[in-house]
């Protein structure tokens, strides 16, 4: 399956290699660099490439390329999913997944990779199983280890590996037993020029942070489970119970995990929280254009819209912008031509406005299409689909846990065409 893995930085430097079968020369990456060169933008590199003797399957995450090499037929998604799992694990262990952090922790990374794959086939990918074998580095522990010669590596088989609940280890103990659930919804939408919705859907996830002792068996039920159009579960969720009763019944992993992701597609249900009044125009002759954007609340259910941010990738011919924002600050990146307007909270009384002129490269033709406007926002204490958790019950343990549910709505891929 997966033969080798190369970690490549954005600048094209191979800074880590790992082989699970015999060694493959890193020159195989030249084919990848060639493709990267051709694609221009790192986002545009095709994830699956063919070379004379190998196949390269790569992902691009956090400005890093994870390039894996295989020699035989393998489902590409298998590899892609695994690579993302590797990146997730790094994130989980080191707090971020970047070149410098991986370089700093090469040994841990190597130990992790060694455990995650055997002969190219995934062996242990559950975070809690890995953490039992290789403890995440902390400053305190590394100091202690250097003094005592202790190690970060466990010597026994993690209990999770053998049980039928591999995601949970036995003997978890907390003094404060708590379970938090964050219902996070993202609105994906395309609005057209006039503000009508071309396409809208809600993607939601429930992120859980469960710190409960023992082997608790939880049941989470919703007020309105029918809202959920399509769902995917953490392996811990009992599918049959969901099928028959529409409740989530599960023995939770210890710590943070994604319990559920769901999808609400019915367009009528999707409330669009803000409207955008925009006017971007380029003059036919002369080298300038005008921009005027106002944002106002639309369907916010009485909640405050926060962290409002507008991103506009300008046409390449725009040289500079000269704008005035009534609220927040704007920046224009001269190399990427991205106009970023950070607004912050949306005040319904005084709508934020950004207006001014754009200077266009003299002689360049008028841009064919106006740039689209990408919007980022956040609304606390609101799940825009109306999903509500009705209750959380715990069985199997005696203590009373502290429970909490939080709702957040964000803009996902929220785009206004102009």
């Amino acid at each position: 399956m997966i033969h080798s893995l190369f970690l490549v930085s954005n600048s094209g430097d191979i800074f880590l290699e790992k082989h699970w079968k015999s060694v493959i020369s890193r020159s195989v990456c030249d084919y990848f660099f060639e493709a990267k060169e051709k694609a221009g933008d790192p986002e545009n590199v095709a994830p699956v490439l063919q070379t004379p003797h190998h196949y390269l399957i790569s992902i691009y995450r956090d400005k890093l390329f994870f390039v894996s090499v295989t020699q035989t037929e393998v489902p590409p998604l298998f590899v892609i999913e695994f690579l993302h799992r590797v990146a997730d694990t790094f994130q989980d262990y080191f707090g971020e997944c970047s070149e410098s952090v991986i370089k700093d922790n090469t040994v841990t990374v190597y130990e992790l990779l060694e455990e995650m794959l055997d002969n190219g086939f995934p062996l242990a990918t559950e975070s809690n199983v890995l953490k039992e074998m290789i403890r995440p580095p902390t400053i305190l522990r590394s100091v202690v280890n250097t003094l005592t010669g202790g190690s970060n590596v466990g010597g026994t088989l993690p209990t999770g590996q053998l049980s039928n609940v591999p995601w949970r280890r036995v003997g978890v103990k907390y003094t404060n037993n708590e379970a938090y659930f964050d219902v996070i919804e993202e609105i994906d939408a395309i609005l057209d020029k006039s503000g009508t919705t071309v396409f809208a859907e809600i993607q939601g996830v429930i992120e859980a942070c469960v710190k409960l002792s023992g082997m608790p068996d939880l049941t989470l039920s919703f007020m309105n489970p029918r809202l959920l159009d399509d769902v995917s579960f953490h392996p811990c969720v009992r599918f049959k119970r969901w099928e028959s009763e529409r409740v989530l019944s599960f023995i939770p992993p210890d710590g943070n995990f994604r319990l559920l992701s769901y999808h609400v597609s019915s367009q009528n249900l999707v409330a669009i929280p803000v409207y955008v009044k925009q006017n971007i125009s380029f003059l036919e002759t002369g080298s300038c254009g005008r921009l005027d954007i106002t944002i106002g609340p639309k369907q916010t259910m009485g909640k405050m819209v926060e962290s409002l941010m507008v991103t506009i990738p300008m046409p390449k011919s725009v040289l500079n912008v000269n704008l005035i924002a009534t609220q927040g600050t704007y920046t224009f990146d001269l190399s990427t031509k991205v106009l970023l307007w950070d607004i912050g909270k949306l005040n319904p009384q005084k709508l934020p406005n950004l207006r001014g002129s754009l200077s266009v490269q003299p002689g360049a033709p008028k841009p064919e299409e106006n740039p689209s406007i990408n919007i980022d926002l956040k609304i606390q204490q609101l799940a825009i689909s109306g999903l509500k958790v009705s209750r959380l019950d715990m069985y199997g343990e005696k203590y009373k846990p502290f429970k909490g549910v939080k709702y957040v709505t964000k803009a996902g891929k929220f785009q206004v065409r102009t």
Partner: protein
């Protein structure tokens, strides 16, 4: 560098040290600092060697860490091998692990030295700690030294029978390693694989199947005995193993089962076909039987379905491809939603999924059409994602949605990403050729694009227009003229060439312009691109033939220029053309045909999807992604014409049952079946006891329950096969048997649905009030009994669509059902009925009974739960039956329908409709089915064809209709073998709703959102009988299928529902005023529905 300094080093510091030592070392970029290489590398490694040989563990560890860092950078450190290998037996587990890493990396280079470590591993293989045994085996098998092959073989064999499943899993991995090291061991390894395949641990399953795939993928005979086990274990296998197993089983199934896609068997007929064959089998006729799905085939489909909900995208894709390659066509669409969900995942996942959808959407537009908007392009998408989405949108285009798609394309054409804009133009071209209605629109649009400022857009448009004109050149001389005008401004060679070709091809339509163009080309010939030159020569030749008077000289001039061109192609072409068209003594007969050769009418190009031929590869594979056969790709075989012997999969039945099912569940299951059927009358108490126990065990058993049900069916099948043969003699005629069988089937479905609904209601009542306890026993028992029936038929309800899981099981049901029904009517004893003796009339009776039972029960539940109803949601009004086909018009064939008010099984957006077909004529009716429908786009889930309806008999069938939230009637034809009757179902507005659960505050919130335009209200005067709260809700519920919202206020009553098709919220509020007047308010986005609903409610409430 002093060791002392290192001692306190933290990893970061250590790295700095390494970095310092490396400064002069040439890495991949290094050009010649040979000196540096020797000096510093040598020195540094000396240093490490010293550390490794010291006595301090921590120093050794530090050294190993630095060595691992070297390895990770791809730098050489093999000279340290002797020093490192000494530490292989270290007590420090981390040190040991790092040594392992090193060993595995360099053993191949230092084979002799590597042998030093072997004895350590051999010892470790006997360690009591399973973890150590496993890692020893892992490393031992990773050391790629041919000499130790026998040792490895031995170790693998031993580990394969280890007590710890983890070690066995490792041995499965080791098999693959050994195989790649020494392929001669294949035979021995297959033995081990065979043994491990029998392993029952979920941990091992994935790995051993992986080994199977790598070592002996063609030995499917090894799978037979393990097939059912693998299917049943699948849910519990870890996710990576699932992918491998599913892929392997897909291949397996394609060799072992017959195709479910027979052209003659339309899907709705599936079930019927199935019954037919069943009865045929009984009579011992084996030849010419329609398709029956092998129960094992069904088992696979059923057990993989839940995995569509996996968080692992690879698993979802694997299941999707399994359904695509194995499921009956009408079942494939259940994967759509999950695939669309994956589109939200990472960019790379999107890419692969879109590729697969592109292939799927060519063959099955319908699957993805409802999700068309999910494929709309965002300007932020990566280019390859955009092109794939475009591809899919083009594939999905049809008459109905083309206008939407074209509007969307218009946006794309303006995109700043010019490559994408060009791809869009090609897509428009494809839409135009595929859908003749829009060809003109598209053509006009493309002509407009010709004046676009961007060169690539114009060029692409020209090329596409050329192709379009070719398909229907008759009326487009205007466009050709227009393009001729543009010719001077277009510089892209491909576009110029296309225009020239068009001119030549249709020169007779533009007789004035073509020679002029040629004149211009003659002037600029030398400076044109080759492709333009070739077309100029072509144009000249064609004009010479059609209009030689004007163009003779020009042609000769151009031919002369071409003769001395630098490009040999052009010289060649010129020579050829000259010989062909200019008559001289040598040219002979060819000359006569020049006109026919050059001006032959050319077939229009077919604009095809680039994904047209991808379906030769299995979906989800690397080969499919690359569109090239990858190394090691296993071809998916065609379905066999005749299925190989299915009995090879039979295992000694009892064994797996013992293994997987808790003995309680197994023993109970058959017993509770009996109880269920009889308790309706007598054994209510006991029935409820065992029934509820049973249902709880089956529902809470979660993962294990699936195993249970699987193995049960196996068991049942073997049991039943005996009975079947004895029954066959007694059944009087095949057709009779089939009709009486298919009927209970319908009923069973109904029952299942009812049971589900009932159960949910009851659980709601349980949790919300304790009135349940005081409720009549009858209610409790019947519902719990029914829930036990639900667990029986779980397999059926799992799969949304009707086809049965396995023939023998169906038979059980079919046999037992009539038992009950007739008993209630006639009080005949059970034994009499066992042999299937009831005369044909029993069938109609039973169905009549069933519907009356249904309404009885519903009435019962209404009165029983009426107080509880205020707090729960589901609503049960009395069922109103409407006439669908009067027996006078239907020549004795009549049909009635009612809305059972349950969520439709087939699609959530459909309204469930039950139709009672009655035959009051004097001859039997055959093949009752649904024919044409209007509007054609009407989405109906037809009922299965009723094969035969005896005189006086009636049958209840259920169907689903998507009314799209309008009360527009659904017109369709009800056909029998001889006749067709046009009928229509017009739903009352209230039937287009489904109840929605919400709390009062939610309700108020939602209501606030639906103010203004979305609110309709009227004050009404109610009939005096209706003023009580119960009566009001009863009346409202009879009109509309809404849910009651519990309310604190006495004078306010609230009901909530959603429209079935679009899911829009419908909120009904009734505010009681004095003197039996009330204010009725309806809040919904669907204002038309609101006013209709208002009218209906008003009417219902004002009459008693």
């Amino acid at each position: 560098m002093s060791t002392g300094a290192l001692y306190n080093d933290q990893p970061g510091g250590a790295e700095a040290a390494v970095e310092a030592g490396q400064e002069t070392t040439p890495t991949s970029s290094g050009t010649g600092a040979a000196f540096g290489l020797f000096s510093s590398d040598f020195k540094k490694n000396e240093d490490l060697k010293e550390m490794l040989e010291s006595n301090k563990e921590s120093l050794k560890l530090e050294a190993m860490k630095r060595i691992v860092q070297l390895i990770s950078k791809g730098k050489k450190s093999s000279d340290l091998f002797p020093a490192v290998v000494k530490n292989v037996a270290s007590k420090n587990i981390e040190l040991k692990k790092l040594v392992y890493v090193y060993l595995v990396r360099y053993a191949e280079e230092q084979q002799d030295l590597a042998l030093l470590s072997i004895s350590t591993f051999q010892r470790a293989l006997k360690d009591p700690n399973q973890f150590i045994r496993a890692s020893a085996l892992r490393v031992l098998s990773s050391i790629r030294v041919p000499i130790i092959v026998p040792i490895m073989m031995l170790a693998i064999k031993e580990a394969a029978s280890d007590l710890s499943p983890y070690v066995r899993k490792t041995s499965a991995h080791a098999i693959q390693k050994l195989y790649s090291l020494d392929a001669d061991q294949k035979e021995h390894l297959i033995e081990v694989i065979e043994k491990l395949l029998k392993d029952k641990s979920t941990l091992v399953a994935g790995s051993v199947v992986m080994a199977f795939e790598e070592v002996c993928p063609d030995r499917i005979d090894l799978i037979h005995k393990n097939y059912r086990k693998l299917c049943n274990l699948l849910v519990d296998v870890e996710e990576w193993g699932q992918v491998v197993i599913i892929n392997m089983l897909t291949r397996y199934a394609r060799t072992q089962f017959t195709s479910p896609w027979k052209e003659d068997a339309v899907f709705d007929d599936n079930e019927k076909a199935f019954y037919d064959s069943d009865s045929e089998e009984k009579q011992g006729q084996k030849e010419a039987k329609p398709y029956i799905m092998d129960p094992d085939h069904r088992l696979l489909l059923r057990n993989t379905k839940p995995l569509l909900q996996s968080r692992n995208t690879a698993v979802v894709m694997a299941v999707a491809q399994l359904y695509w390659h194995l499921a009956p066509k009408h079942e494939v669409s259940i994967v759509t939603k999950s695939l669309v969900r994956l589109l939200r995942s990472h960019r790379e996942v999107q890419y692969v999924v879109l590729e697969n959808i592109a292939t799927m959407s060519i063959q099955r537009k319908g699957m993805f059409e409802p999700y068309m908007k999910s494929f709309y392009v965002r300007s932020t998408d990566a280019t390859h994602i955009k092109t794939l989405k475009l591809e899919i949108l083009t594939n999905l285009a049809n008459e109905a949605n083309i206008s939407t798609i074209l509007r969307e394309f218009q946006t794309y054409v303006k995109s700043q990403d010019k490559a994408f804009a060009a791809a869009t133009i090609q897509a428009i071209g494809r839409c135009a050729t595929n859908i003749s209605e829009v060809t003109d629109t598209c053509l006009n649009g493309l002509v407009l694009l010709l004046s676009n400022r961007d060169e690539t857009v114009v060029a692409e448009s020209v090329v596409v227009i050329k192709k379009l004109l070719q398909t229907q050149p008759t009326q487009h001389s205007d466009i050709i003229k227009h393009m001729a005008k543009l010719f001077d401004n277009i510089t892209v060679p491909m576009a110029r060439a296309s225009i020239l070709w068009l001119m030549g091809e249709y020169c007779e339509r533009v007789p004035k312009i073509a020679p002029d163009v040629l004149r211009k080309m003659a002037k600029s010939f030398t400076s044109e691109e080759d492709i333009v030159k070739l077309q100029t020569v072509n144009l000249a030749a064609k004009l010479y033939l059609t209009n030689s008077k004007q163009t003779k000289l020009l042609t000769q001039y151009i031919l002369n220029l071409g003769k001395y061109d630098q490009n040999y192609d052009i010289r060649d072409r010129t020579r050829f053309i000259r010989q062909l068209i200019v008559p001289n003594e040598k040219s002979g007969t060819l000359n006569k045909y020049a006109r026919r050769i050059l001006l032959a009418s050319k077939p229009a190009p077919v604009l095809e999807s680039a994904f047209k031929d991808r379906d030769r590869f299995q979906l989800g594979t690397l080969s499919h992604s690359l569109n090239v056969k990858a190394a090691g790709y296993q071809e998916l075989s065609d379905w066999p014409a005749v299925a190989p012997d299915p009995s090879v999969r039979n295992v000694e039945v009892i064994e797996p049952v013992r293994e997987w099912a808790p003995s309680v569940g197994k023993a109970k299951q058959p017993k509770s079946d009996d109880k269920f059927y009889s308790d309706d009358e007598e054994k209510e108490e006991e029935g409820s006891g065992s029934g509820s126990e049973d249902s709880s065990s089956s529902s809470s058993g979660s993962s294990s329950s699936s195993e249970e049900s699987g193995s049960e069916s196996e068991e049942e099948s073997s049991e039943e096969s005996g009975k079947t043969s004895s029954d066959s003699g007694k059944s009087s005629s095949g057709s009779e048997a089939s009709s009486s069988e298919s009927e209970p089937e319908q009923k069973k479905k109904k029952r299942t649905k009812k049971a589900t609904q009932r159960k949910s209601k009851q659980s709601a009542a349980d949790s919300d009030s304790d009135e349940n306890g005081s409720g009549p026993v009858g209610k409790t028992s019947s519902s719990s009994a029914e829930s036990s029936s639900e667990s029986d038929s779980e397999e059926d309800s799992d799969v949304d669509s009707p086809p049965p899981p396995s023939p023998p099981q169906k038979k059980t049901v079919a046999k037992t059902k009539p038992k009950v029904e007739v008993k209630t009517k006639k009080e005949v004893s059970l034994l009499d009925l066992d042999d299937f003796s009831p005369a044909p009339p029993s069938a109609p009776k039973s169905s009549v009974f069933s519907s009356s039972l249904l309404s009885d029960l519903e009435g019962l539940s209404l009165s029983n739960v009426s107080s509880a109803m205020q707090v729960t949601t589901p609503s049960f009004g009395p069922v109103k039956t409407y006439e669908l086909l009067h027996h006078m018009t239907g020549k004795g064939f009549s049909a009635k329908y009612h809305f059972p008010r349950q969520p439709c099984l087939y699609q959530p957006s459909m309204v469930a409709v039950q139709v009672i077909l009655t035959n009051s004529s004097d001859h039997s009716l055959e093949e009752i089915h649904i024919g044409d429908r209007s509007p054609a786009s009407l989405n109906i889930h037809c009922f299965n064809t009723v094969e035969r309806l005896e005189p006086g008999a009636s049958v209840t069938v259920s169907m689903g209709i998507d009314f799209s939230d309008s009360t527009q009637a659904a017109n369709f034809q009800l056909c029998t073998k001889e006749d067709q009757f046009s009928v229509s179902i017009q739903p009352a507005v209230g039937e287009l709703l489904m109840p929605s659960t919400m709390t009062e505050p939610d309700f108020c919130n939602e209501q606030k959102k639906l103010m203004g335009m979305n609110e309709t209200s009227a004050s009404i005067t109610m009939a005096t009988a209706n003023t009580s709260k119960q009566n009001i809700s009863k009346q409202v519920l009879s009109v509309a299928n809404v849910g009651v919202v519990s309310s604190g206020q006495n004078d306010l009553q609230r009901f909530a529902g959603r429209t079935v098709s679009s899911g829009a919220l419908v909120l009904v509020t009734l505010e009681l005023r004095e003197a039996s007047t009330a204010l009725l308010t309806i809040n919904t986005e669907k204002s038309v529905m609101a006013s209709m609903l208002l009218r209906d409610l008003k009417q219902a409430l004002s009459q008693s």
